[in-house]
Point group: C2
Chain length 145, copies 2
């Protein structure tokens, strides 16, 4: 999770919402690191999780990350939660909950839907204070601009 | 919608689930065409809608497709519905409903959630018989293999 936090900090330095993600292989190796790049790439789908999933699939030359685990600093949105399901991620660890836009423990609760055909094991609250503090300071600075 | 159906047929010929999408600009010009490429690209996020949104954002050099409309042959899944919301698509036209995996009129009904901050106008059932027939014949052929 400390690597995911580093990615979130790097995203903030690029002017992006500070969210970072890491995917770890079944054998415990870090496969990919990614931070949010929606602005830089002009791509509303370029959330950290999506970029990490696409990169890990590219590395492993598969569209299913069976036995891989994803660490992300913020509760995934519905788009990312559904992508996590499609990618067959084994375990999802995340930091801060996101009552405004989250899709795991808030809003559509993607993994609890009958239309969801694979749900990872979910471990929320990992490094929650650090993840939330990063987001708070980012948005506080934005409001001052 | 006939262009989206052409993209869906082309996807089927590539061995992909036959779904096609088109994004039209505010002035009525076709901006991009896309078909499902999850297998070809080893990318579980490479649904027709996601590829179309990413391509249109690239063409217009923006992460928001304000006043653009999206045509797709199948009801978007939750991942694509959320991406449509993030991209600020104005109108969504789709063909066949998808009780098993849809995210608009089925499952999490993404656009009705309080965590959804932009909902397009939604027009279902456009060229529904052709869209559904394509999917049915594709999966029937798969089962025979």
């Amino acid at each position: 999770m400390s690597l995911a936090l580093d990615e979130a900090r790097a995203a903030a330095e690029r002017g992006e919402v500070p969210v970072g993600a890491v995917i770890v292989s079944a054998s415990g190796d870090v496969l990919v690191l990614a931070g949010n790049r929606t602005r830089e790439l002009n791509d509303p789908t370029a959330h950290a999780e999506i970029l990490a999933i696409r990169a890990a699939c590219s590395v492993l030359e598969t569209e299913r990350l069976v036995d891989c685990d994803l660490y992300v600093t913020l509760e995934p949105c519905p788009m990312c939660a559904a992508a996590i399901s499609f990618a067959r991620i084994r375990r999802l660890y995340y930091g801060a909950g996101d009552p405004k836009s989250g899709g795991v423990e808030h809003g559509p609760r993607i993994f609890s839907q009958q239309t969801c055909h694979h749900a990872p094991e979910v471990y929320p609250g990992l490094a929650e204070p650090e993840s939330a503090a990063l987001l708070k300071s980012f948005f506080a600075a934005k409001r001052e601009q």
